[in-house]
């Protein structure tokens, strides 16, 4: 009896959770004139015209491509730099270790708005404005510290005897790291990649400021459409639905490690 009550309450919550997303899906499948003229709980005359427009117009689909390019770049940079650093923090005591760790952490907490102008100036100086790498580097501000944290949490769960045994067996450090250690923290690397992907994918402010046209992300394309043209709700909804898809696809692969990742590897 009590179990049933719980299940019903939880199901109710999930319905509420999905309702706004369903509503956007509903809008995305209707033509704009239809949306404005009649109120409907479901699309009576569903159309995929909105989606077709996004897939055929370059100004729209290039936004998705740009986003995917800089998010991927950022994830790779974050992982490659964070892996050795996380190992250092999890295994060694060295001068200033706690201070550096705290300093990294402050960057995860830094308001992106604070760095807006200086980023713009800095990247202008290097001629990086409107390039994918600019956004990827800017997002390192919060993703590299995050990656170090999560990986450190996962690595600390691996007993140090494994390292010692490998070194006694004659492994060099790079070989041990690549052949023994990385396979052991596979799950952690997957989760970290997922979180880097996620936080770079959802960010708007920096991505919008550092790009003009060539690397403009989809999230910026959307906001500019809102302010410029007379609103096409159907199109906007379709674009929104398409931004959810990549996340929904990757979520499945890390579902069992999600909670641990959100706890920065510390559960």
């Amino acid at each position: 009896m009590k179990r049933h009550l719980r299940t019903i309450a939880l199901s109710g919550y999930f319905v509420l959770l999905l309702l706004p997303i369903y509503w956007m899906l509903n809008m995305s499948l209707r033509a704009n004139a239809d949306i404005l003229s009649s109120f409907a709980l479901y699309p009576s005359d569903p159309t995929i015209a909105n989606y077709l427009k996004i897939f055929t117009e370059e100004s729209w689909y290039s936004g998705y491509l740009n986003s995917i390019i800089y998010v991927t770049l950022n994830t790779v940079i974050s992982l490659v730099t964070a892996l050795p650093a996380a190992y250092a923090f999890s295994r060694f005591q060295f001068i200033g270790d706690k201070h550096v760790f705290f300093w990294l952490l402050t960057n995860r907490m830094a308001p992106a708005a604070v760095f807006l102008l200086p980023f713009f100036q800095l990247y202008s100086t290097f001629g990086l404005i409107d390039t994918h790498i600019a956004v990827a580097l800017a997002h390192c501000l919060f993703n590299v510290p995050l990656a170090v944290w999560i990986l450190e949490g996962f690595m600390s769960g691996i007993p140090r005897e494994i390292d010692e045994t490998a070194f006694i067996d004659g492994y060099s450090f790079p070989r041990f790291f690549a052949a023994v250690f990385i396979p052991l923290i596979r799950a952690g690397i997957g989760v970290t990649a997922f979180f880097c992907f996620m936080f770079s994918w959802v960010e708007l402010l920096l991505a919008r400021t550092l790009t003009i046209t060539n690397a403009k992300p989809i999230v910026a394309t959307m906001t500019r459409t809102v302010s410029a043209t007379g609103l096409d709700w159907g199109l906007l909804a379709a674009a929104g639905i398409l931004t959810i898809v990549p996340g929904a696809l990757v979520i499945w692969f890390v579902r069992n490690h999600l909670a641990k990742g959100f706890a920065l590897g510390r559960v």
């Binding site: 309702l19 060694f92 705290f102 952490l105 708005a113 069992n256 999600l258 920065l264």
Partner: protein, 290 residues
Amino acid sequence: MEKWQDNRAWLLILPVFVIVAFSAVVPLITVVNYSVQDIFGPGQRLFVGTEWFREVLGDPRLHAALWRQFGFSALVLVLEIPLGVLIALAMPKKGWGVSLSLVLLALPLLIPWNVIGTIWIIFTRPDIGLMGAALNAMGLAFDHTARPLDAWITLMLMEVWHWTPLVALLAYAGLRAIPEPYYQAAKIDGASAWAVFRYIQLPKMRGVLTIAVLLRFMDSFLIYAEPFVLTGGGPGDSTTFLSIYLVKIAVGQFDLGPAAAFSLIYFLIVLLFSWLFYQALQNVGTGANR
């Protein structure tokens, strides 16, 4: 077991050091530069000392934004933490329901922040939105673009909808870490469900809940994109939070000096809370606070 002592570990963190220095230290120095100078154009600048700081600290709109920000973050915590714990308690412990619940919970967290705003505009508009239309049909005039209270209600609903899953995921991870014998012992003692929650589950969740409280505080304190899209900081100034106000000054009016001074003050407030967060995090998982 003690960690190995070896300063060569610095070589391992060098890449991170360089990349974060490039994306954090250099920009921060630029901000400090701006905050003490009046810049007319390239090569034309005047050292003005603390003038911008005094101007910013005396700005009543900034004070209003700051209190609004604290109020918003406090409300976020009061609503999201208990709700998240309840959801975690209601979640199934095994079977296919676990994966399904986890995936559903994570879904709002993966939506770009401005799309969150877009979703809620579409959902709450009186003419095309399900919620707006339903409320109006019940005879309640609801319009978040015109009435500050409605804007706040919409914003809070959006915020709770968006981030409560994070709290639930954390609380669930904490609950799963409790060994089964604890529950068996409680059962033998005839403990009530409340007693189990109060004396077993809540203390065991302390670590993850600390993380949840601090993450939610920090991120709600830095909120920008969602209210920017949903309300644009209005009606009036009623939902202008710190980040929105800062971007207005920096990009909208291009007042570099005051914006930089504001940035530094904002950053210092955040830094203070980061330190508290760090202290709390240090104890998580070591058993020191269990």
